[in-house]
């Protein structure tokens, strides 16, 4: 009897193991550090991938709380897609707690999609922390510019194809289909933003430079005293004066930042504070890459009317 039970248990364990292996083998398990990269990976990978994001759209991607639940996601990942440029360097701590060699730094499953990006705000002089939480490698928020999507998705195709080379053609086909949809949307966005060319805006955190550059707008000031440093009253007074003098109509604020403060400053300066999706899922309805850019363009156009 004992032997029968023993054999039964071993068989159950074996079947369970086989079933779990088969289920896992169905799709490539991808984890992206931020929701933008999750959305773009889903576009490229289609039904061949299962993608999770470590950060949520409403969070500040610069400083994520490293919960063990993130490690759990990474424990099973075949591929980790990261933004790079030190935006998501916190992922190293999560990877270390995941005990998954497939995505350790330097492993084929670690994909940095910033390769080939023409990085803006690259310091041309010596930088230090007196300038705030500056990014020595340049501004890492390139995914907010839809014009960067071809390069990002190309890197994603390369990363996925390293894991599943036989599916490269499918990934590339999915990518082209997505880029075609993006091209259509880009024409719409370019037309909508055309009247705003040359306009100045104030941003809360300097993360919109790629998007502003794409559509010809200018970042006149930031509400943060310096990147990552909370605003002092003296700095806010200067910004309000500048907004009045230069007739700046809009303050762009991220969902995770102090919207109340931005609204107060905007009221003082006779402008509007507009919350844009700093990542996919950052605001209601921005649940895909194109929907997020759609929201940002529409909200900006409405606010600057």
């Amino acid at each position: 009897m004992r032997r029968t039970i023993g054999i039964g248990l071993v068989a159950l364990a074996a079947i369970g193991s086989l079933l779990s292996t088969a289920a896992a083998a169905d799709k490539i398990r991808v984890v992206a550090t931020i929701p933008d990269l999750k959305a773009l990976t889903e576009e490229v990978g289609g039904n061949l991938v299962e993608v999770e994001s470590l950060a949520r759209g409403t969070q500040n991607a610069h400083e994520l709380e490293i919960r063990p639940s993130l490690m759990l996601k990474l424990r099973r990942a075949d591929i980790l897609i990261e933004n790079g440029l030190e935006l998501d360097s916190w992922a190293d701590v999560a990877v270390e707690g995941a005990n998954n060699p497939k995505i350790a730094r330097g492993a084929p499953g670690r994909v940095d999609v910033s390769r080939g990006i023409q990085v803006l705000d690259v310091p041309s002089t010596r930088v230090d922390r007196s300038m705030g939480d500056v990014h020595p490698l340049g501004n890492p928020h390139y995914s907010l510019d839809p014009g960067m999507a071809p390069i990002i998705t190309e890197n994603i195709v390369e990363g996925l194809a390293r894991f599943a080379p036989e599916q490269r053609a499918t990934f590339e086909k999915n990518r082209q289909a997505f880029l075609a949809r993006l091209d259509e949307a880009m024409a719409r966005w370019t037309k909508a933003m055309e009247p705003l060319k040359g306009a100045k805006v104030v941003v809360y955190h300097p993360q919109w430079i790629y998007m502003l550059s794409r559509f010809g707008l200018t970042q006149a000031a930031t509400l943060e005293d310096r990147p990552g440093i909370p605003a002092s009253p003296a700095h806010l007074t200067r910004v309000i004066r500048q907004m009045k003098e230069e007739r700046i109509k809009v303050i762009i604020v991220e969902p995770w930042n102090d919207v109340k403060l931005a609204t107060r400053v905007a009221d003082e300066a006779g402008a509007k504070a507009v919350v844009l999706a700093s990542m996919v899922g950052g605001v209601k309805g921005a649940d895909s890459y194109i929907a997020a850019i759609d929201h940002n363009v529409n909200a900006l156009v409405m606010a600057m009317r």
Partner: protein, 449 residues
Amino acid sequence: MRALVLVFVFLCTVLAPAAATAQDPATLRREIEQLQKQLQSVTERLQRLEAQPPAPAPAPVAAPGAPGVAAPPPPSAIDLARPRQPYSLYQQRGSGQLLFDIGIAGDFVGNITQFNVQKAQGGTFSGQENRFFPREIELALLGQIDPYASAVVRFEAGQSGRDPETNVSLAEANFTLLALPYGTQAKFGQMRNRFGYTNEIHEHDLPWVDRPNVMRYFLGDEGLVENGVEMTLVPDLPFYVQALFGVFNGDNGTAFGAGTLRQPLYTGRLRTFFELGLEHGLQLGMSVAAGPTTESFPNTILGWEGRYKYRPDGWLHPLLTVTGEALYSLREFNVQTDTDGDGLIDSIRKVEKDRFGWYVGAEVQPSRRWAGGFRYDSTQYPQNPGYEWAIEPYVTFWPSEFLRFRLAWKHTDRTSRDGWNNNGGSARQVDEVLFQGSFILGAHPAHPF
């Protein structure tokens, strides 16, 4: 001219076959295929760029926080055609880059207390009562050794006692094998043991000015820092569990002290995490450390830990954090007895003492710059009779994420003066004002939960 042509023809004749033979046909074929793919990719991108309306030049940035920051020129066709390396091991940091990170953390603390307490050296920072001193200046070097392992080396300098001399020591030096199979990792070297929640944390990163009393009494002022190996296992389960097993020398003189692998110190820990919706997180853990003392008697310390955080969605910081730990020590001692009072030891007998201590702390952080909280400690002494409790409310102020100030008041109440009455002083009841200033220069890894 004719001579030049002859030289050119000669060089082509000599060098061309050499170059051709240097690589075998299969390699050349692969390279040609690779180049064809790159050409095709670049052609597609050029076509796409040509089809798009011309992008405006990057807007001038007037951000006051980014002086000297300039947008690079738009990419040329040569830039686009240049092959990229999507999988290089390290991010590009310009010429002369270091292949590892360097960070410095400075932690200065001060305290003001009663003169009696100073005489008895019974304050939180024993021997440093009514002083301001550098507790821990840490130089950390960290990075990847190769694709299979990472390393951390930390040197610490600080003052102990009233001696103004600064002592420099090796705080940690270890490497972790990251490429082991079956969800395992191994860490070798000198390390702060992953025993409970706070033991792993360096002084400057603690959520309070001082290390909790139970940790200091049971494991010493520095905590458990050992030489040996730690193995961790994260099984592929639907929930997070990390199991740890370690073997060490057992150099810690407060709790163990045998200091030999013939009678090693064994450690273990089980840690799990519950994500209670998007806003709540709860980490629970159990630890054990078992090894011989300097007298070769067994000592086993059991630990339980819990940490809860409530972070409203989208907040940059938690609103509420609650942390608690409890330690239970089962230790054997020799007790010497002078039965007739003649000053000579009449009998020595072995006894087992079970000792218990715990703390709980809560912190509320309503804004990015300010937080306030308290910690309550209650602990027996691991070797001596009696116990003490303490309460420590505090406020923390962060001008930025790299600079922090903390002010606390701590009241400690002990059951007896015995052991706390050195030099004619008394530290049975202690009131202390504690203050702390900490900074971070350079690299500092993100903090775990």
